[in-house]
């Protein structure tokens, strides 16, 4: 449940940044940060696609898998947790790379990007703990969905 909630928040954030990047929103709400500098840099596009869109796809995938994992038929299986560990692990690596770019290449900080990096790290840590807990206790929950 924690993972699904975090994934939903991350998804909303990624959608916001993506919509801004493709021009559907006016000024970016960033306070004193340098979101525009980061979002307008050449590093805000990866393989021709806005970086934020990868976030949309990634968070959506994690949200779907984590919700599936709560369903009775998947609850006793470990696969959903492992898939979330894998997806969020990729997300953490990508976020670490983007944070490095902000710090040393662009030399500007986008606070929403940092929040997103924090969220994906929390998802990864939570899923990792869940995967170890499930393995060691073999606990079983049943769910009324």
């Amino acid at each position: 449940m924690v993972v699904a909630t975090l994934a939903l928040v991350g998804l909303l954030l990624a959608v916001y940044l993506w919509l801004w990047k493709i021009g559907f929103l006016g000024a970016i709400a960033c306070g004193s940060g340098s979101c525009e500098t980061v979002q307008l840099s050449e590093h805000a596009v990866f393989l021709g696609i806005p970086v934020a869109f990868y976030g949309v796809v990634g968070y959506l995938a994690i949200l779907v898998v984590s919700l599936l994992g709560l369903q009775p038929r998947w609850l006793e299986r470990r696969e959903p947790t492992f898939v979330v560990v894998l997806l969020s692990g990729i997300g953490v690596a990508f976020s670490a790379y983007l944070t490095y770019l902000e710090a040393f290449v662009i030399e500007a900080w986008c606070r929403w990007c940092l929040v997103s990096a924090g969220i994906i790290l929390l998802i990864f840590a939570t899923a990792l703990v869940e995967s170890f807990t499930a393995r060691s206790t073999g606990s079983v929950l049943s769910v009324d969905s």
Binding site: M1, V15, G23, F24, A27, L141
Partner: protein, 222 residues
Amino acid sequence: MAQSVNLKPFYAVLGVIAVAGGAWIISAGGGSSTITLPEMVTASAFPGYAIGSDSAPVEVIEYADFQCPACAMFAILTAPDVKSRLVNSGRIRWVFRDYPLPIHDRAPIAHLAAACAGEQGQFWAMHDQLFYNQGAWVQDRRPRRLFADYAQAIGIDAQGFDQCMDEQRHLDRIAATRNEGQQIGIGSTPSFIIGDQLVAGSISIDQFIQLVERAEQAATRQ
């Protein structure tokens, strides 16, 4: 023994987060408010770059920044429709006013390039060049070289253009126009004054037409 967990409250919480987040994103996309234009703006020393008939019943004033992605999005996706459906048919007169945002380091020189092209009657051609090529000059270390290329592409006198750029002839006027915009409540770009409505954000052609229709009705009542 298996524990039974009811997921319905959890789904409700997710739903609330989704709705609240969606509302926040939509509200961040701008909005509209009714304004009354101060005398000093309606009687501005520089009224802006206009296209369309002087006798059009509705005047639309756009405040935009050439370095703003949302402005480029509007210029590329929506403005052609606005011109063909509203300006060319005589329903609106469209006025462009400079609003270079302080966070955009290259906006002042881009607005200067447009103003210098405007000296030779080619403001709108340079306006299109700047928005359609925004991705290129924003990332170029010496955007002025590209502006000179755009000037050549639209067939304006290079010497006159360079001289105007060297003298930074219109920078003070651009800053003054921006300050006027700030005084009437422009806070982001693009922003549009359509009749007595101030609308922020890259609005769609359908929203644009609806606002123009409201302004037309208001003009008819007066």
